[in-house]
């Protein structure tokens, strides 16, 4: 009698443990946390079906019915690769990075700003977008990259930035005049194999992940995942990255522009 009671209680307790584990893991995987906001994937799914599905598709693979008419193509969420993030190259983004992208939109693309949606709604969308890839359950985002204070935007900094634009081979894609017509430009594809042009710095258009100098610095540090734009995290010092930011700013301003001179190697 006593044994059967013990066995029943053990059985019950183990079921309880299993159930709690399942609900706990499901809860974390179905949520997003942005500041004080907690996003809910179930609510996010309903919003996704109303606002996002036409481009990003029901499976989140970027194959929505509008996708054929868009360039660049809508993001494939199943790859868990995102252009704009505050974490190192190749790392998952933070929930707040995805929230910022939804809020800001991706400039120079078909992705608009979704600021008209409530903050809670944007947080819910982040929670749902994360469910398209198991990466968010299996891995953790890397540490946020530090952005040091910006040094003065001096003529010397621009000059050093111009030399780096040459030696770092930025010009191979973006072109010597920054118009995006470098020798490698016609060969570039995104991770889905679609042709993708390098950014035209002379266009005056806003940069994809935000238009401040700090945003540009972060782009150079993280690269734009899923595109040919690499990270320069180990390639340049923070001071050098600020120099490149200052130089790139001159490309859209003919008065400030410094010509990249051919060096001895004949480039």
């Amino acid at each position: 009698m006593r044994w059967s009671f013990v066995r029943t209680s053990i059985k019950f307790a183990s079921w309880l443990v299993v159930l709690t584990a399942i609900t706990a893991s499901a809860a974390t995987a179905q949520e997003s946390h942005i500041g004080k906001l907690t996003g809910n994937a179930k609510r996010g799914k309903a919003l996704y079906g109303r606002y996002c599905i036409y481009c990003h598709g029901p499976e989140g693979d970027g194959r929505g019915e509008n996708a054929p008419y868009l360039n660049p193509k809508p993001r494939d969420f199943t790859k868990a690769l995102f252009k704009c993030h505050s974490t190192p190259a190749g790392s998952l983004p933070l929930d707040s990075d995805l929230y910022d992208t939804i809020s800001r939109g991706i400039h120079a693309s078909g992705m608009p700003s979704w600021k008209p949606l409530l903050r809670q709604e944007r947080a819910d969308l982040v929670a749902y977008i994360k469910t398209f890839s198991s990466a968010f359950e299996e891995e953790k985002p890397g540490a946020v990259i530090p952005i040091p204070a910006e040094p003065p935007d001096s003529a010397e900094s621009v000059k050093r930035g111009a030399a780096l634009f040459q030696s770092m081979n930025c010009w191979q894609c973006h072109g010597k005049d920054g118009r995006g017509h470098g020798p490698s430009a016609p060969t570039l594809t995104d991770s889905q194999g679609n042709l993708i042009p390098p950014f035209d710095f002379t266009s005056g258009r806003q940069f994809k992940c935000g238009d401040t100098n700090r945003d540009m610095f972060r782009d150079l540090e993280t690269g734009l995942d899923g595109t040919p734009m690499p990270s320069f995290a180990t390639a340049m010092t923070p001071e050098q990255r600020w120099d490149v930011v200052h130089y790139i700013r001159t490309l859209s301003d003919s008065k400030k522009h410094v010509e990249v001179k051919n060096d001895a190697s004949g480039q």
């Binding site: 190749g90 030696s167 490698s184 690499p230």
Partner: protein, 248 residues
């Protein structure tokens, strides 16, 4: 009385479990790589059937620094055949028949070099979570951009002399590697969860060492010519020979 018999049955059940578990562990070949050569393994040569395609010239003139330090102009490497018909850069590996992997990734790292704006080796094989050291021996700046299907994509700029390393967490055969700055650059990295793999040398020869006795499916992967498989049984201390032949 009843409680006692239940207690006895629980104890005997546990004992059976322990004994069975020990036997199971002893009988299943361990995948831990043996530092000493056990003598058992699979050797072979991979041949290319028919007239070998001639490598074509690659125009690297968009970056004059690429030809610096090159003794010969760059040529395509998608099919490399020697005078005897041996096919280089084929990944040969055990695809079925191994027990669950218990081995740790090797401490030694593997090296991928960028030289003359091509990858050396063109095809590299390594274990998951093993350290990959990436070296830029060129004066120009490269970006190393693996485009995996089963691992995280990663894209880093590497000027000359700056060290860079990376690991891949999951098995994948094989991850294409490209450099967006030099679009002709192409290489592959095969990542395995076990240590039983090899890449054919310039004569098409491969050697998979220290394979535990067992019956295996061996797969040969070539970037352009696809995959082939063969079944083979390897006894204790037995060195088997297995050849493959690819054609276009």
């Amino acid at each position: 009385m009843k409680e006692k018999s239940i207690f006895a049955s629980v104890v005997s059940f546990l004992l059976i479990l322990i004994v069975a578990g020990t036997l199971l562990v002893l009988s299943v070949p361990s995948v831990t790589a043996n530092p000493a050569d056990s003598g058992s393994g699979i050797k072979g040569v991979i041949k290319f059937e028919g007239a070998a395609p001639k490598p074509t010239h690659i125009d690297t003139s968009a970056d004059p620094l690429c030809s610096k330090g090159r003794t010969a102009p760059a040529t395509t490497e998608d099919i490399v055949v020697d005078s005897g018909g041996g096919l280089a850069n084929v990944v040969v590996y055990v695809s079925e028949g191994l027990a669950a992997n218990t081995s740790q990734p090797p401490q030694e790292s593997v090296t991928l070099e960028q030289k003359g704006c091509q990858y050396r080796p063109h095809v590299l094989a390594m274990q998951a979570n093993q350290k990959l050291e990436i070296v830029n021996s060129d004066e120009t700046t490269h970006n190393i951009h693996p485009t995996p299907a089963n691992n995280r994509e990663w894209n880093m700029t590497q000027p000359h002399g700056v060290p860079l390393d990376h690991t891949f967490a999951r098995e994948e055969i094989a991850i294409p590697i490209k450099c967006n700055v030099h679009p002709w650059m192409r290489g592959y990295i095969a990542v395995f969860k076990h240590p039983y793999f090899a890449v054919t040398d310039k004569n098409g020869a491969f050697d998979i060492k220290n394979l535990p006795p067992g019956t295996y499916t061996i797969t040969a992967w070539q970037e352009k010519l696809g995959t082939q498989t063969q079944k083979i049984t390897v006894g204790a201390g037995e060195a088997k020979t297995l050849d493959f032949s690819f054609k276009q």
